[in-house]
């Protein structure tokens, strides 16, 4: 049976307006995810049936603030809406999703979309938050002013979807076949006029008490050119102190649990290769990484809290001045901030930067920001070599060193960007405009959910990739077995041992022994695996009574302080992540940039580690 053709609706809205939540609420599991042809921009299509029984296709378009198309994602949205994108149907109607708590931001987009002339509905999302904040929006009047249907929604709770579906049923779909729209970019005067009109409508239709007074008062301090920067540094400093001091009890508990489990399993299994695989490979290797879960959770607790409070946007504003001095675009702050979690989403987030050179500069420096996978490596070495003491009246020395490593990453990213933008690509950086949200109390449920997702991702990674890698490392460190009558640790005769000994001369000038070299290789797959590999390699290298101690005291005894410092510095700069290089290749659509990144980071890491090792050696002599 051939029914009438299903009309297609485009879902458009500013970033973070709850567009995707609404898409999910409307379509449920009826979704198809792919990429737009030739670009790495996600295309999400779904379908649903309206109360009148009409099947409808819906396309979730990338978030945009206007139709001007300032990034690859925004260009896609504009071209789909205007019917200019090859291979895409021209949408029959548009549903614009607005963050009702920040209407000002979306009204200009609404007016631009309305000018395109397609049937349209405005979904005022997050109306529950507006109500909770004591705000009001006169929906009928707003509808009259804009000349389109306006409905209230709370997408995360699936609230208001019935009203939205009813409004869609009212739209004159499939009456006139849509055609390409001859949109042109507005002039500055037209943009100003649109802003004024948006302000008028907002004034007439919405009352939002917000906490503007409090926000203004706080901003006079938090955005102050001197005090603001000092407070930002203090916040970051406190964060790293907490990462060390708060995490210790939970880490000790996890460590004791894993050790007890390892001993228990070791006692059950008979002595042999299977026992070695479980105890030296799985428990020593994966366990060495798992103990860092509390630190990861604490780090993200601060990041999520500050983001929800509205401080991260201020941090971006404060950093913009510093970043502009190095030639980085203000929009680079979010990609660089994301890189503290992992360079990969950071590099992907660089798509918001329109200028290709600005974008590539951001991509090239993103891996210098300290990702969470480095945290286990830093923590292990700091705990083994930096005394757990306080200085300057209560400042933890270990936290201070951690802060220094993060700061070194940030400063070196800025320095590399400076060299690229000021010395290699000499061109002016475009101005950066951003909206600063009102301060608000973080919602505990939101923070808990964010932590749950982060902890889950870390545990999933430990239970999949890291576990598999540790099994392979154990195998390569245990086979082939030593010949009969051989003396010394068996690992010396294994594949991993031979590779380590073979490559060791390259890294000897920077103080690395062959065990570290073995750890560096799988560390390319996942940085934190280096910790697990060191645990396994030292467990298998050990003989007799010294076997299976905790890794930290082993390293304290086996490495000199210059080697430990050199290893830390290596991890600040080294291109220790193949996935990052693969994403750079995909995002730049070129082999040149991942090669440039690998070479400059390797040279930087080697040179910095060499200098650190020899200077530290000379000072300690």
């Amino acid at each position: 049976m051939n029914g009438p053709a299903a009309p297609e609706i485009a879902l458009v809205g500013c970033p973070n307006s709850g567009k995707t939540s609404l898409f999910n609420a409307l379509t449920g599991s009826r979704q198809k995810v792919a990429n737009y042809a030739g670009v790495t921009v996600e295309r999400k299509e779904g379908s649903f049936v309206t109360p009148a029984g009409r099947p409808v296709k819906i396309l979730d378009l990338p978030g945009t603030y206007s139709l001007r198309g300032r990034s690859p994602d925004e260009v896609i949205t504009r071209d789909v809406v205007l019917g200019r994108l090859d291979g895409e149907e021209i949408p029959d109607a548009v549903v614009c999703v607005a963050d009702a708590t920040n209407l000002r931001l979306v009204l200009r987009l609404v007016m631009e979309l309305k000018a395109v002339g397609r049937p349209m509905v405005l979904a005022l999302n997050m109306m529950d938050i507006v109500a909770r904040q004591g705000g009001r929006i006169d929906v009928d009047r707003l509808s009259k002013e804009l000349g389109i249907s306006v409905v209230e929604t709370v997408a995360v709770k699936r609230g208001g979807t019935a009203a939205l579906l009813a409004a869609i049923d009212e739209l004159p779909l499939l009456e006139d076949p849509p055609t390409e729209h001859g949109w042109r970019e507005p002039t500055a005067a037209e943009i100003r006029a649109a802003h004024a009109e948006a302000a008028r409508i907002l004034h007439d239709c919405a009352f939002h008490p917000g906490n503007e007074h409090l926000t203004r008062k706080l901003d006079t301090v938090l955005l102050h050119p001197v005090a603001g920067v000092v407070i930002l540094l203090a916040v970051l400093f406190l964060m790293f102190q907490a990462v060390f001091s708060w995490a210790t009890p939970a880490m000790d508990l996890i460590k004791a649990g894993i050790e007890a489990a390892g001993v228990g399993v070791g006692e059950i299994l008979p002595d042999g290769m299977l026992r070695s695989l479980i105890v030296d490979g799985v428990f020593a290797g994966v366990g060495a990484v798992l103990v860092f879960l509390p630190q990861i959770v604490i780090l993200f607790f601060f990041i999520i809290l500050l983001e929800d409070f509205g401080y991260m946007a201020r941090a971006a504003f404060l950093m913009d001045r510093l970043m502009a001095g190095t030639g980085l675009h203000g929009r680079a702050f979010i990609p660089l901030l994301s890189s503290f979690a992992c360079a990969i989403p950071g590099i992907m987030a660089a798509r918001v930067i329109e200028n290709r050179r600005d974008r590539i500069a951001t991509i090239l420096v993103a891996p210098l920001m300290t990702c969470s996978a480095r945290l286990p490596v830093y923590t292990l070495i700091i705990a083994a070599f930096v005394p757990d003491e306080t200085i300057l009246g209560g400042v933890g020395l270990q936290g201070l060193v951690m802060f220094g490593l993060f700061a070194t990453g940030i400063l070196s990213a800025l320095a590399v960007a400076f060299i690229l933008k000021k010395l290699v690509w000499r061109e002016a950086t475009e101005p950066f405009i951003m909206e600063l949200p009102d301060y608000k109390m973080p919602a505990p449920a939101n923070v808990a959910l964010g932590l749950w997702i982060r902890a889950g991702a870390f545990l999933r990674r430990a239970g999949t990739v890291i576990l598999a890698l540790m099994i392979l490392i154990w195998f390569l460190s245990s086979f082939p077995a030593p010949p009969e009558g051989a003396t010394g640790p068996a690992i010396d005769f294994s594949v991993a041992g031979r590779i380590g000994h073979f490559l060791a001369p390259i890294f000897e000038p920077i103080g690395f022994n062959w065990q570290i070299v073995v750890a560096l290789i799988p560390g390319m797959a996942a940085r934190e695996v280096a910790v697990g590999v060191l645990a396994t390699v030292y467990a298998l290298s050990a003989t007799g009574e010294e076997a299976r101690q905790a890794l930290q005291p082993i390293l304290s005894a086996a490495w000199s302080l210059p080697t430990a410092l050199s290893f830390l510095v290596w991890y600040v700069f080294a291109p220790q992540c193949l996935s990052t290089l693969a994403v750079v290749r995909r995002e730049t659509n070129s082999r040149v940039w991942p090669t440039v990144m690998f070479v400059y980071m390797f040279v930087l890491a080697y040179a910095a580690s060499f200098a650190t090792y020899h200077i530290a050696g000379a000072l300690l002599r």
Partner: protein, 54 residues
């Protein structure tokens, strides 16, 4: 079962898991695995659509 058979089975399983995980995107799509594009518009790791950048 022989102890070494179990050990080799575990090691081969781990190797196969990693090989599948790190297949190039085009091959992943061809064998019916997600191609990593789900991460494309995500601002952070750990989303439910994430198929693991690593």
């Amino acid at each position: 079962m022989n102890e070494m058979t179990i050990v080799y089975g575990i090691v081969l399983g781990a190797a196969a898991f990693l090989a599948l995980r790190w297949l190039p995107a085009s091959l992943r799509a061809r064998v019916g695995l997600k191609d990593g594009a789900a991460c494309a518009s995500k601002a952070s790791c750990g989303s439910k659509n994430c198929d693991g950048c690593h």
